[in-house]
Each structure stands twice: as C-alpha cells, then as structure tokens.
Symmetry: C2
Subunit: 219 residues, 2 copies
C-alpha cells in the first residue's frame, strides 16, 4: 500500500473533486477503503461523541440503485442550474467564470450518468438524537461528521484514489435510506464515489481570492 509523499500543503491544495477520471473497471481493495476510514476517524466530533457511520457500497445492484437516485437528482439540478446561468444574474457566456461552470456542469452530468458504476460509493452518516423538523442551525451536527468525510477524501487522494464530494442524492435521502436499511435516527451527509484516478496529476484550482472572503474583526 503506497502513500504518496505529499507535503501537507500539497495534500490540502490538490485534492480535487474527481467526476470523470474515475476508473470504473478497476476494483478498489476493501483494505484500502478501511485504511482511509480509519484515518478519517481521527477527525474531531462534537463532544468526542463519534456518532458517525459509514456506508461502504460495493454490491453492483446496490450501487446501481443509489446511482439511479443520483442520476435523477443530477438531472433536476443541472436543469435548474442551466436556467439560473442563462438568466440575468448569470455570468457572461465568454467569461472565465462561465467556462469553469460549463466544465463543472459537463463533469457533473458525466458523474450523474455513471455513479452506479463507480466501484465504491461511501456515504458518511451521523446519528441524530432529536428530529430536526423544527429548523435551526445544524452546523454542530454536521461538524461531527463532515470533517471526517473530508479527511477520508484526503487520505484517499494520497493513495492515488479519486473521490468527489456530492450531496445531490440527498433529495432522495429517504429512498436511499430504504435501499441501505438505515435506522430512522441515521442521517446522510455526503456521498463520496471512490475509484482509482485515471488522470495524470492533481493541481490546485482557481478560487476566489482569499481577500474577498476574509474579514478582519468586523464584516
């Protein structure tokens, strides 16, 4: 099992969402997934409760069933997004921003079609004690599993696996819970397709400058 000799900064700046360059034919050993999950469990969780649960889906029929939910949700999402993009608030068609968005749309559409074929689907879940129908800020709850999910992706990247962070299937969270036999107090946070990466290298991506999003002492 090789772990790439990445520096902390390389690791943190080159773990991209891989949607197209996923090897759909090469199986990923379960040991490798277990190792990445084991590492992820060193992340913080509220009050150190460790209420996380990880669904690891390799069975072809189950993957296909989750994939179908994902396909439907992606289709809806992309249609809504295309409409928003072409509206008055959207970027000019020739702008770099529009170009990036087209690229993401294209790769999202690809993943939407192929999610069911990705060799391993990982769903990060969390145990909830109370119903959340009342609304309110759920950052405390999600802070108890999403950092671990991100650590899983970082550990996977260091093992030459490609992953993507996606929550589109949550539109059909109930249907997915039925497929997976989840108890009623388990909620799903993120779906992470995992496969060997077929691209060459990972690079940092363009981002909004930090100065635009950093506020010192007061907004």
């Amino acid at each position: 099992m090789t772990v790439l000799p990445l520096t902390p900064d390389e690791l943190l700046t080159t773990t991209r969402s891989v949607r197209k360059r996923l090897d759909l034919t090469r199986p990923v050993p379960m040991d490798l997934i277990t190792e990445c999950l084991q590492i992820s469990l060193q992340s913080p969780s509220g009050g150190n409760q460790q209420g996380w649960h990880w669904m690891v889906i390799t069975d072809p029929d189950t993957r296909a069933a989750i994939g179908e939910l994902y396909r439907r949700s992606t289709e809806r999402y992309l249609a809504a997004r295309a409409q928003a993009m072409s509206g008055p608030g959207g970027p000019a068609p020739d702008s770099p921003e529009a170009k990036t968005m087209r690229r993401i749309r294209e790769s999202s559409a690809y993943l939407g079609e192929h999610m069911g074929e990705v060799p391993v689907q990982v769903i990060a879940c969390i145990e909830v004690n109370a119903p959340w129908e009342a609304g309110g800020n759920q950052a405390g709850l999600w802070g108890s599993v999403l950092p671990a999910a991100w650590s899983y992706m970082l550990a996977a990247r260091a093992r030459e696996l490609g992953t993507a962070w996606t929550t589109l299937h949550l539109v059909y969270e109930k249907e997915a819970a039925e497929i997976l036999g989840l108890p009623g107090n388990i909620r799903q946070g993120v779906l992470i397709p995992t496969a060997y990466y077929t691209g060459e290298t990972f690079r940092p991506a363009p981002r909004r400058p930090v100065q635009e999003v950093m506020h010192i002492n007061r907004w």
Copy 2:
C-alpha cells in the same frame, strides 16, 4: 514560515482539538492565518459556489465579547453534560470512557474560561440563499464550508499552531453576528480558536474501532 514535513497520514491523524495548550500571550502573525485560509479555499464547495466567509478576530475587545458568549454557552453545556454523564445511561465512573470524558470536560471548561484571550478567533461562515426555518437536511449547505474549516485546522497544525473545533457559541449565534456586523444571510458554522501550541507533540487519539462504524452494502 516553516511547514512541518508531515506525511499525509501523520497530518490527518495528529491534528487534535487543542483546548489547553494554546499560547495565550504570543501573537500569531496575520500572514500565517491568511496562508492557512488560502490553503483551505482549495476544499470543495457545493457547485463550486465558494460562498464561504471567514471572520478573523484579533481585536482584544471583540475577542473578549465573543469569549463571553462562549463562556456562557460552555457553562450551560458542561452542566447539562455532567447531568447526562451521572445518569443511568452514562459510563461507569472508573471506565476509560468516563476518564476520557472527564479530560475533555476539564479542557472544555478551560477553553470556556479563556476563549476571549486566545490571540486569534476564526469563525467559518456560509452565505445562505433561503431561510431554513422549514427544517430539513442542511448537509449540502454545511458541506460547502466545513471541509474548508477542517483544512484550515490541518494547515495550521502543519505550522505548529494549535486549534480546536467548537460550535458551542452558536447558541448565541445572533449575538455574535451583531458583535461582528454580519449581514442577515451569513450563518456561522464553527469557531476555531488559533494560537501557538505549547505542548510537545501531537499523537493519534483513541477512537471507536472502524469496524463498529463501517457498514458494507447494508446497515
């Protein structure tokens, strides 16, 4: 600016929540914070929207004001937790679990008292488009900022800074928003006290075994 030569696995398994071993007297250069934030912005966000915002608080009065909210919330939380611990569902007083919980309670109480003195408080925020009073799963929203917040902590750890993940102040989210002048569409996700680390080394922590939280194909 030195970045420790940590392997990916070392980085991911030794970034602990530091509550007591924070140097409250040594200032942290703003460049160091900016660098950690810049790295964190390479994390995924829903539809690559990058709707994150980062409050970086160094002004002593503002820190003290946030610290006071945090102190009150910690006090309430620890009182409730102590009651739950001593109840019939709690661990036996001599168990390793109870010992860990006592240690966390002690360090949480310490941070509750000293949050206002930590040289830098960072609050990771996210822009919301719709009110969430209706309830429902907010994992999509929080997945657009909490991975970046965790990357910030990982980048900080590689720079010999100690940080902690805490959401206790969110009980007083509105009061904090007023202190910081946040617009109404900005919600707070996590408060990360940041300071030079005064301990010796960081080590992996005991955790529930991965086998207990990993479910293959079906719960």
